[in-house]
C-alpha cells in the first residue's frame, strides 16, 4: 500500500484511541503514535486492493463470506447450503439440485469450517471446502468462479462438525460426526446409546484434476462426540487427528454427564493404513442413501444423484491404524503445527493447553506402551505422548493457529483473549483481549505448512458495545491483530455475517489473477440457452410454456409475450449476452413464488412462474445495468385457462 494523508490517520487514530480508552488494558492512553499507525495499517485507499482474501464461514447463514484483509471489507457472500435470493441460488432450476439431500430439498445448513486446497502442504487456491453441520454435507467451491460446484451428503453422520479439513495434497476432505448415532439408523431406546451408537469418520477423496468428491470409506468409531480435527503434515502426513468429548457416552444432560472424565481423547488415525486396507478389499459395504450434487459451469446446471452404498471400516480390523491420546478435559480445538510435530488439544473446560508430540506418539506405538483400550482401540499413556503444557492462566482455550515463525496463537473463549505462545518452550509471549467470547482464530495459511504470519483474525461470538446498537441482535464481530511484531496489536474491528466459526485466508495474488470475469457465451452448453437473439422464442408443451429469452443492455428479447394462460407453468430460460466483467442482468416477474434471478454474462438461468391471475403482468431487470436500466422491462399477457389466444412474442413492434 502507498503512503496516505497522515492527517486523516491522526484523526482516525485519535478517535480509535478515545473509543478504546478504558477497555484495552490501559495501554492505549500512552500509545498515541501506535494508535495512529493502527489506522494506517488497515487503511486501503480507494483504488487500492487488499493483500489477503479471507473466507469466513457464515455459520447459521449457511454460506461463506469473502472479506479483504487488512481492510475488513466484505466482497461477496457465496451461497453454499442456503437459498440466496440475491442471486437466485437454490431458487433457479439449475441450482435447486444443489440443495437436494436424502431428506429432500434442504435449503439451509450450519456452515462451520472452510479450508483451502493444498499441494505439498501449501495453499494452492484451487478450491475452498466447507461443511454443513446440521444435515451432514461437504461443499466444494471453485476459487475461480467463487461459486459452489459440488455438495456431497454424508450418510451415517450427524452434526458434521469435525470437518471440512483436508490432507496436505488435498487427497481427502474429512467429515467427522459430532453426534454418534445408530448406524444404520433405526428405532431404538435412546438410553441404550452406550456401546450401540457409532461415530462415523468419513474420508472423501478429491479428484486432482476437477475436484470431484467421492466418499471412499467411513471409519465406524466408538460412540463418542468427534469435535474437531486436523490432518498431520510434513512428517505426520498420513495421519488425521480428531478431538473427542463425551467419552462417557452419556445421552442426557450432557453438560454435566459428558464432563465427568478427567481426560477425553484425541483420536489419531493413520488414514494411509486404512486406505491401503480398503484398496486390498477390506471393509464392508452397507446400504446407504445420500445425495451427490454437481454443478457444471459449462452447462450452468446442477445435477443431483442418489448414491446407494457406502464402504465402512471397523477400526479394530486394521491393527496399527487408530490410537487414542488422552487429553484433558473435553478438548475442543485440535490443531497441528506447520512442521507436523505438535498436536495441540485445547481443553475447553481447562486452563492449560496440552501439546502432544508426534515423534513421541510413534515411539509409544512402536514400544506398545498402552494404557488399556477402548472398544479394542489402544489408549496411549498421557505422559508418553505429552510434549508439553502451556500454562496460560486463561480460561477455556479453543483454537490455535500458527505464524510460521515458531509461535502459536490460541483463543480463550471464557476469558475472551488471544494468547501468543512459543512452540518448544511453551512460554506465553503475549496476550490481548478480544471483544467478546472469541471462537476461532485465523492466520492466512495458518492451517498449512506455510503460514503468512502478518495478520490474525479473531472471530467473536458476541458484539455488544462494539458498534452502534441494532436492537437485541447484532452481527458478530471479528477483530484483526497485527502479529508481525513480538507483541500483537489490535488494529481493526469489523462485523461479520451469520455466525462465523472458522475461516481460511490466502494471499490475494494467489486468487485475483485467475478469478473468472465472464462466462463465454460461445462456450455456453446450457440445454435451454438462447445463444443468438434470433433464437428467442416461446414454446408450449401442454400446460408447460418455455420462454427462451436473451438479455443485453438494455432490453429483453422478446419483451411482449401473449398466449400464456392461468394455470400454465412458465419457464423463463434467460441467457445474458453481455461479455463484460461484472455486468449481470436480473429478471423478476410479479407474483413469482421464488426469487429473482441474477444471470452472469454468458450464463443461462431458469426461473419458474405460475400465473394465477388474468392480466398483463410486467417483468423487469433487477440489476442496475445501464443508463437505460429502468426501461429494461417487458409484459406477459395472461389469458383465462380456456382462452384460445395463440402464443406470440415480439420485440420492437
Amino acid at each position: 500500500m502507498k503512503k496516505y494523508k497522515h492527517y486523516v490517520f491522526a484523526l482516525l487514530g485519535v478517535s480509535l484511541l478515545l473509543a478504546g480508552c478504558g477497555n484495552q488494558n490501559g495501554e492505549s492512553s500512552s500509545n498515541g503514535a501506535l494508535s495512529s499507525s493502527a489506522a494506517e495499517k488497515v487503511y486501503v485507499a480507494p483504488g487500492e486492493q487488499d493483500e489477503y482474501y479471507a473466507f469466513l464461514s457464515g455459520g447459521y447463514s449457511g454460506n461463506l463470506t469473502v472479506y479483504g484483509l487488512p481492510s475488513g471489507r466484505m466482497f461477496k457472500e457465496i451461497p453454499v447450503f442456503s437459498q440466496f435470493p440475491t442471486s437466485g441460488y437454490g431458487y433457479s432450476e439449475e441450482t435447486k439440485p444443489m440443495l437436494n439431500t436424502s431428506f429432500g430439498f434442504v435449503p439451509w445448513d450450519d456452515a462451520h469450517h472452510p479450508d483451502i486446497s493444498q499441494t505439498n502442504g501449501e495453499l494452492d487456491g484451487r478450491w475452498v471446502f466447507i461443511n454443513g453441520n446440521n444435515t451432514p454435507r461437504i461443499a466444494r467451491i471453485s476459487l475461480s468462479t467463487f461459486e459452489t460446484e459440488e455438495i456431497i451428503e454424508v450418510p451415517n453422520s450427524a452434526g458434521n462438525h469435525s470437518s471440512s479439513f483436508i490432507t496436505e495434497n488435498t487427497e481427502y476432505v474429512v467429515a467427522g460426526t459430532r453426534f454418534s448415532v445408530p448406524v444404520p439408523q433405526r428405532d431404538m431406546p435412546i438410553n441404550e446409546y452406550k456401546g450401540n451408537f457409532k461415530g462415523a469418520l468419513s474420508f472423501i477423496s478429491v479428484a486432482p484434476d476437477n475436484g470431484r468428491l467421492n466418499l471412499e470409506f467411513q471409519l465406524l468409531m466408538p460412540g463418542f462426540n468427534y469435535d474437531l480435527s486436523h490432518p498431520g503434515r510434513g512428517k505426520s502426513h498420513g495421519w488425521f487427528f480428531f478431538t473427542t468429548y463425551n467419552t462417557e457416552e452419556a445421552n442426557s444432560l450432557m453438560e454435566v454427564n459428558s464432563s465427568q472424565n478427567d481426560k477425553d481423547f484425541i483420536a489419531a488415525i493413520n488414514w494411509k493404513k486404512i486406505e491401503e486396507y480398503v484398496k486390498n478389499g477390506g471393509g464392508t459395504k452397507i446400504p446407504a442413501n445420500y445425495a451427490h450434487n454437481v454443478y457444471d459451469d459449462h452447462n450452468h446446471t446442477g445435477t443431483s444423484t442418489m448414491k446407494k452404498e457406502v464402504l465402512t471400516v471397523d477400526p479394530t480390523k486394521v491393527p496399527g491404524a487408530v490410537f487414542f491420546l488422552p487429553t484433558p478435559k473435553s478438548p475442543h480445538g485440535c490443531d497441528v503445527d506447520p512442521t507436523g510435530q505438535y498436536i495441540i488439544g485445547n481443553g475447553k473446560l481447562s486452563a492449560d493447553l496440552t501439546v502432544h508430540s508426534f515423534d513421541k506418539m510413534i515411539a509409544a506405538i512402536e514400544g506398545e506402551k498402552f494404557d488399556g483400550e477402548a472398544y479394542g482401540i489402544p489408549i496411549l499413556k498421557f505422559e508418553d505422548v505429552l510434549a508439553g503444557t502451556v500454562k496460560s492462566g486463561g480460561l477455556g482455550p479453543l483454537h490455535t493457529e500458527f505464524d510460521g515463525k515458531g509461535n502459536a496463537y490460541t483463543t480463550f473463549f471464557i476469558s475472551s483473549e488471544v494468547v501468543k505462545w512459543k512452540l518448544d518452550t511453551w512460554e506465553v509471549i503475549d496476550r490481548k483481549p478480544t471483544f467478546y467470547s472469541v471462537g476461532h482464530i485465523m492466520i492466512p495459511g495458518g492451517n498449512s505448512r506455510k503460514p503468512f504470519g502478518k495478520y490474525a483474525v479473531a472471530m467473536n461470538k458476541i458484539t455488544k458495545d462494539r458498534y452502534l446498537p441494532t436492537g437485541p441482535e447484532m452481527e458478530h464481530s471479528a477483530q484483526i491483530y497485527d502479529i508481525s511484531g513480538e507483541k500483537m496489536e489490535l488494529i481493526y474491528d469489523f462485523p461479520t455475517h451469520g455466525e462465523p466459526h472458522y475461516a481460511a485466508g490466502c494471499p490475494a495474488e494467489l486468487l485475483a489473477p485467475k478469478s473468472k470475469k465472464i462466462y463465454r457465451l460461445t462456450d455456453n452448453k446450457h440445454e435451454f440457452a438462447t445463444i443468438s437473439p434470433n433464437d428467442a422464442r416461446v414454446e408450449r408443451n401442454g400446460k408447460e410454456v418455455h420462454i427462451y429469452m436473451s438479455t443485453i443492455r438494455s432490453h429483453f428479447t422478446p419483451d411482449n409475450i401473449e398466449g400464456i394462460k392461468v394455470g400454465d407453468k412458465v419457464y423463463f430460460h434467460i441467457t445474458n449476452h453481455e461479455q463484460d466483467f461484472d455486468v449481470p442482468h436480473g429478471f423478476s416477474i410479479i407474483g413469482q413464488n421464488t426469487s429473482e434471478l441474477l444471470v452472469m454474462p454468458g450464463q443461462t438461468k431458469t426461473s419458474i412462474w405460475e400465473p394465477k391471475k388474468v392480466g398483463v403482468w410486467p417483468f423487469y431487470c433487477t440489476d442496475f445495468c445501464s443508463a437505460l436500466h429502468q426501461e429494461m422491462q417487458g409484459y406477459v399477457r395472461v389469458s383465462p385457462a380456456n382462452s384460445d389466444i395463440e402464443l406470440s412474442w415480439s420485440l420492437g413492434e
Binding site: 483504488g47 443492455r553 461479455q579 463484460d580 445501464s626 443508463a627
Partner: protein, 208 residues
Amino acid sequence: MKKASILMIIGPLFLLGLYAFPLWNIMLGAPQYPEPLGMNIHIDGIRDVNEFDLQNIDGLNHYIGMRKLPKPEEMWEFSAFPIVIGGMVILGLVIGILGFFKKVGYQWFMGWFVLMSILGVLGMYDFNAWMVDYGTNLDPNAIMKLSNPDGTPMSYKPPLFGHAKMLNFDVTSLPSTGAWMMFTGMMLILAAFFLGWKTRKSKEIEKP
C-alpha cells in the same frame, strides 16, 4: 547500386508486418474503465485489444446512436487493402531485384516511394472520412442527443492522431506496430534511393 538494391529488396518486406500487426490503435479509457477498451485496426478488419472490447464499445456507442463497428465484409477497404499492400510488396521486390541486376535505375526506388506515399495519404484520408461518418452520422432515434455549447450536434469522431476527450472518455489514436514497420520499410527505401543516388554521383565523379 548493389547495396541500394538490397535495401530496396528488404524495405518492402517490412510491409508484410501489416498482415500480422495492427496498423492503427484506438483506446478508450475512463476512470470507471481502469482497463481501457480498445480496438486495433488491421488492414483486413477491426479487432479487439482485449477480448469482447468491440462488443462493449458497440454497447456504449448505441446510447449516442453510432453504428456498430464494421465487420470486415461490410467495408470494401478491408478486402482491398491487403491486395494493395501485397501488390506494393511485389512491385517493390521486382524493382529491387531489377535494380540489383542493373536493369532499372535508382529513380525507380523513388517512384515506388512516391506511389506508396500517395497510397498512404489516400488511406489516411479514407480512414478519416470513415471516422467522420461513423462519429457524426448518428441514428436519429438515438437515446441520448448531446450538443456542443453552440447548439451544434456533438461529433464523436475519434482523433486521427493523438488524444481527444470525448464525454467522459479519453480517446487515444496512434499508429501501431504495423504502421511503424511500414514506416521503417519506407525509410529503408528512401535510404536505398539516396544510396543509389550517391553511388551514381560518385561514379560520375570518378569518370573524368
